[in-house]
Subunit: 187 residues, 4 copies
């Protein structure tokens, strides 16, 4: 959240305003991730939440929210408070006209959820666009099946398991100095 | 299908449920591939099978099926049985609201088919989306031409030939220790 | 702007015609960037300017223009003059049927703006395409919020700060011989 | 056009059927390129030719053709003859339901044209898809401006100049043993 060089003191105030309020509101959260990925940005301009189009989107079934009250770049802790309140107990928020946010117990799950959420956005954007041409509506997963899938894939430990290979890949590329990928038990 | 570290015993139950039942039902199958690629996921939410839009899609002419009975993440062998039954003698299945699956005699052909199927999904999604804007319907290959093309490109040996360069590239990048790319005769 | 080998004297006349006129018209401009990126090209064929769909697009709020008078490849300084006139005091121009152009005080901000503008084009193209299928109009940022966001993110120093990591990455990859990433004060 | 290992004699018959007939019909052609790129495939399923949407597409103004007589994979020289006849004196053909083909005097220009044509397909697909959502028709370049641009960019020497950096990049990555990028005069 801080970027500084000897000749500057530019802190990422917006990042601090968001992250600090989420940690205040959610003591169970060990990590939150937020960025302006391309598909996340595009989806967050649609004013929609994720449709349950694939097994993977069910990880966010009843477990993500759209925060649609964009007030400009987040510079006051008030705005961070509003986002934290909207997020509630969920693992993800679509920040309207802004980008994606995921939160959870471990860094691994939060990174895995973020990557997964961005892919879900890409999938829904592409599927929606194609249906305009084919004239055939998309197929949605039923509520019962979505709930069953969330139960199987949507817990913190599932997310941790999903995130491990991402970190192990980084470790393999950057070397053991990264202290990552030490097993499935959170450090 | 198994991912384990000293401190865990998390097996990929879903993968085992799918793959084991396909191998049981299809003794000719030496390999099956399944993953949630982005374009595969998006296409599998459309409830459609591949249109014969390009020479390459004809590799799947009368040789792929949509399994549209998504019941949640596959945790019971029953679901794997259903998928294997739907696949039948074909080389590929679109698993509705889920992802792609290819099967065949050799690892090479199955990987080649998987990559090709994912590209066919990407092609159809992009072509459909564009036709919504142009207002001009896509051009479909005739049944006779599709059949002729399948005969020329759709056999196991064609797939093996298609897959070889993929493995040779991996071998060139990872070194000869991979025991891949030894010629066109399956090992 | 010049590409030459011992056996040739082919100069990029079009690039010179554009860049020289911008520097003549805008003494504050230390750098201008222009290229035919894929999403920039596609968006510049739509005859539209950026909608305020995301926080990032607000960097160009009332700060970009569409130059829609494509006369063929720019070979005369007259055409460069027209582009410079259309750009005015703004940081970016969408050159209709052509590509993107950004300009600013420092190389860092101009590169950051260019990358950001291209992503904004990609975002809007994907969001628009998806809305054709969903039937739901996109959500636009209000004028007040867009202005507030421009004030926070749209200044030259913000762009410089945004561009630094891009150059630091290049420096990390190509070595310290590049003389880049020396801090937040323009050299 | 030939792929062989000690244990096989599988030749790329389809490639030979296409390329040999083009060389027979066009003595001026030193090189032809054909492949099934993703965007090329998708565009070649639309039954359309390139609209003049960007400066770059004008390189193909009155200089490309749609061959819309897909008969299945090209295994007979007759089909190659038909393609060569359709191509005529032009630099590119969109092979319907199949893929892209470019031809020219030098390898450099042909590769540059191929890459450019594929990008033009990507641009038009994305622009069309977006216009379905925005409801606003795309802006087309006028005939006079397209012709002027073709005159400036569409000649063999322009293509050679465009292709040089592609080969120089390959040379830089693979070493001087590639005998590429020796200047702007064709070898």
């Amino acid at each position: 959240m801080l970027m500084a060089t000897p000749s500057t003191d530019l802190r990422n105030v917006a990042a601090f305003a968001i992250h600090s309020e989420i940690h205040s509101a959610r003591p169970d959260v060990g990590c939150a991730a937020h960025s302006h990925s391309v598909y996340g940005r595009a989806f967050c301009a649609t004013g929609r939440t994720l449709d349950m189009l694939t097994q993977d989107s069910c990880v966010f079934y009843n477990d993500h929210v759209l925060y649609d009250n964009f007030q400009g770049v987040v510079l006051a802790s008030d705005e961070g408070k509003h986002i934290a309140k909207a997020l509630g107990h969920r693992k993800a928020a679509l920040l309207g006209n802004h980008g994606l946010l995921t939160a959870g117990r471990t860094i691994e799950e939060v990174v895995a959820y973020f990557v997964l959420l961005d892919k879900c956005c890409e999938v829904q954007l592409a599927a929606d666009a194609s249906s305009a041409g084919s004239g055939k509506p998309l197929v949605h997963i039923g509520e019962k099946e979505a709930q069953v899938t969330w139960e199987a894939l949507g817990h913190s430990s599932n997310g941790y398991f999903m995130g491990l290979p991402l970190f192990q890949t980084v470790e393999a590329e950057l070397g053991p100095r990264t202290f990552l990928g030490r097993g499935v038990e959170p450090i």
